[in-house]
Amino acid sequence: MIEEQRAIEAILMVAEDPVEPGLLAQLLEVPVERVEQMCAELAESYVTEDRGFVLARVAGGFRFQSHPDLAPYVERFVLEGQSARMSAAALETLAIVAYKQPVSRAQIAAIRGVNVDGVMRTLQQRGYIEEVARDPGPGQAVLYGTTRLFLEKLGVDTLDDLPPLGDFVPGPEVVEALEQGLRPDA
């Protein structure tokens, strides 16, 4: 297999969203038509080999998906194989979004002291948080807030119904994290 085609497989394997052919063309430094052709060949080869996955064209991009006729197995995996409880990391992240919204990923990462990309993605996939605005500053960071589904799950009407924080005063490094997140070079 030629290197560019292998590179497409590698990129699509790690991509979290469909990847547009234009972006692939740019990364591989080949014309878009060539990308389309290589992707078509790859998709064809998976069909020929009767693989359990397909290369699908979705929302203007390419992505790997499980083969539709294996859905029963994937469903069993979802039902039996996934942990049903929210991790402490996810709960803390969700709590920060709930009480500090609108808030950027960088700000949350600074408060929690760890990368929160994976946790944020899960929360977003489950529909508990969503993008609500953009930071007006130079970075234009995406700002997140909680969703209606979040309120429903919690059984409350509005955010004002969340338990009050009382006379809570954040630690100095938290204040710094919140301030830094709003600076352009943060």
Partner: protein, 266 residues
């Protein structure tokens, strides 16, 4: 003679020692107290902001080394008794064992780092469930209440614990650097220039001598004294740079204690 330690930042006192002994192949026979102290002070200079914890550890290891090497310097130490001799060897063996252990894990860490670097070249797929399966996924918010959310928030926002200096791996010392600093600030302005031998001639315990030495280092770091040694094993001369004869306690304000925990209890 400025003794430059041209290496990356040392993570701790053992790093520095390992470097001195193995990397440069410097035989400690040839390292006088001045050279050790210079290496140590050079390290402090290189620290962009003074890390109390690391400074403390450097001081403690320097003290141990000085214990090993200092008998010639100290007054009345020519007739060391056998017990003390044996104790010193034991201390040396302990230090040696710790250096070997430290080196072992340093090399192990390099190996783990190489594994991690190799693994990094291969990125895992983490795109997760396709949309049609999301509704099947267990409801992660089951059991999550407003109160739990509030608790999680407070936990995330709580100030992180303050770093403490653990001393349980250090030989117990019953002395206070702060006291020694105060004594010196009282004594040095009156005498101006004095040798370290003179400064310590009344002291009985070796550890008291070491604590005095730490105190001198603190004053040096604060710019209140100058240190001089003419050659290997020559007397260390301490020169007071503060105001002459002024025993106003306010000079102490200029002394930023490098040693956070000053009381060493046995």
């Amino acid at each position: 003679m400025p003794y430059a330690v041209a290496t990356p930042v040392f993570e701790g006192p053992f790093d520095l020692l390992l470097h001195l002994i193995t990397k440069e192949q410097v035989d400690l026979y040839d390292i006088s107290i001045t050279r050790i102290v210079d290496a140590y002070l050079a390290e402090l200079e290189r620290m962009e902001h003074l890390d109390l914890e690391v400074a403390t550890e450097f001081l403690l290891i320097a003290a141990t080394l000085i214990e090993l090497k200092s008998r010639r310097l100290l007054p009345g130490r020519d007739d060391i008794d056998l017990d003390e001799e044996l104790a010193l060897w034991e201390e040396r063996d302990l230090l040696l064992a710790r250096l070997l252990e430290c080196k072992t894990f340093k090399d192990a860490a390099d190996a783990l780092n190489r594994l991690a670097s190799a693994a990094e070249r291969s990125v895992p797929r983490r795109s997760g469930l396709e949309d049609q399966f999301l509704t099947l996924a267990p409801d992660l918010m089951a059991g999550v209440t407003g109160e739990k959310l509030r608790e999680a928030f407070l936990k995330a926002m709580a100030p992180r614990p303050v770093t403490r200096v653990l001393l349980d791996h250090v030989a117990p010392i019953r002395a206070s650097v702060q006291d020694a600093v105060e004594e010196l600030v009282d004594e040095l302005p009156r005498v101006g220039v004095i040798t370290f031998r003179h400064l310590t001639q009344d002291l009985v315990e070796r550890l008291e001598v070491i604590v005095r030495f730490l105190a001198v280092l603190e004053l040096y770091k604060s710019g209140l004294v100058e240190l001089d040694q003419s050659g290997n094993f020559a007397d260390l001369t301490v020169t007071w740079l503060g105001e002459q004869g002024d025993d106003d306690a306010s000079v102490l304000d200029g002394v930023t204690p490098m040693v956070e925990v000053e009381e060493y209890q046995g």
